[in-house]
């Protein structure tokens, strides 16, 4: 069956995140105070054909590590999408 999977790709801890820090610096000018620790990342959503949930996640994790992320600077986390 098909499982709808979301993969979040974020920069690893300690890796400079110029997008995140630029967004963080822009927020006070727009009146959003008290927001810190902003990180920017990418999100991917797709269907995986698999026998069960864990097989679907395993496949999604494997392709996320091989293609969707660069393990030198990024972490990838696969999760099942909430039922629509």
């Amino acid at each position: 069956m098909n499982y709808n999977v979301i993969v979040d790709v974020t920069l690893r801890k300690g890796i400079a995140d110029p997008e995140g820090s630029t967004i963080e610096r822009a927020l006070p000018a727009l009146g959003f105070t008290g927001v810190s620790n902003v990180h920017a990342g990418k999100s991917f959503r797709f269907d995986v054909e698999a026998s069960d949930e864990s097989a679907a996640l395993e496949k999604a994790t494997a392709l996320a590590e091989r293609l969707l992320s660069n393990p030198v600077i990024e972490d990838a986390n696969a999760r099942l999408a909430e039922e629509a």
């Binding site: 890796i15 400079a16 110029p18 997008e19 630029t22 293609l67 969707l68 660069n70 030198v72 600077i73």
Partner: protein
Amino acid sequence: MTRIGVVVFPGSNCEYDAASAVTQLGAEAQFIWHSESDLSGFDGIILPGGFAHGDYLRPGALARFSPVMEAVARYAADGGPVLGICNGFQVLAEAGLLPGALQKNRGLTFLSESTTIIVVSTTSVLTRNATKGQELVVPINHFSGAYTCDDATYDALVANGQIVLRYKDNPNGSRDDVAGVANEAGNVVGLMPHPERAMSTLLGSADGRILLESFVGVKAPTGAGSSR
């Protein structure tokens, strides 16, 4: 005659500059489409600048899976000289043929300007004719050129002399001003600046010549890159 292969991905745009530069240095340049898989007979391989596969996902992320990259990996393992310029550097890093990664520039701006780079190591195929400490004026033209790697990798790069070039005034937030790195053997080099665009004082600088002369002057070991 020295034969240099210039790999062309869909979206490469500096292949003619690279070919023109090596031709000016007396070598023969031949384009290699990214779907090819035999690199035998070449004395060196250049991965030029541009936007291979549209730079979608990350620069170099899709290009590293082009068929030619398996051949480039074999060629490099055989000791063949491989040079990645700008996008070519990003492809080599994504492919794991060079350590580290290239991130978006600090400041998130596309940089197109002249920079001064300093020769740090002369053991690589790109810098063997240059002198340690030599300053070269070479242009940059990139959005993702901030070199990064973890501490252990960085220490190893320094210890092995794999940091080949540094910026004099860091334009993009690269770790410790790194502009170019080599693999451990020194036969694979990547740099963000464009030496092929610094071939003539009439056009601003001829400082790229000493780098490309070094590269073109290296001969690949016999049989490097042949299919097997």
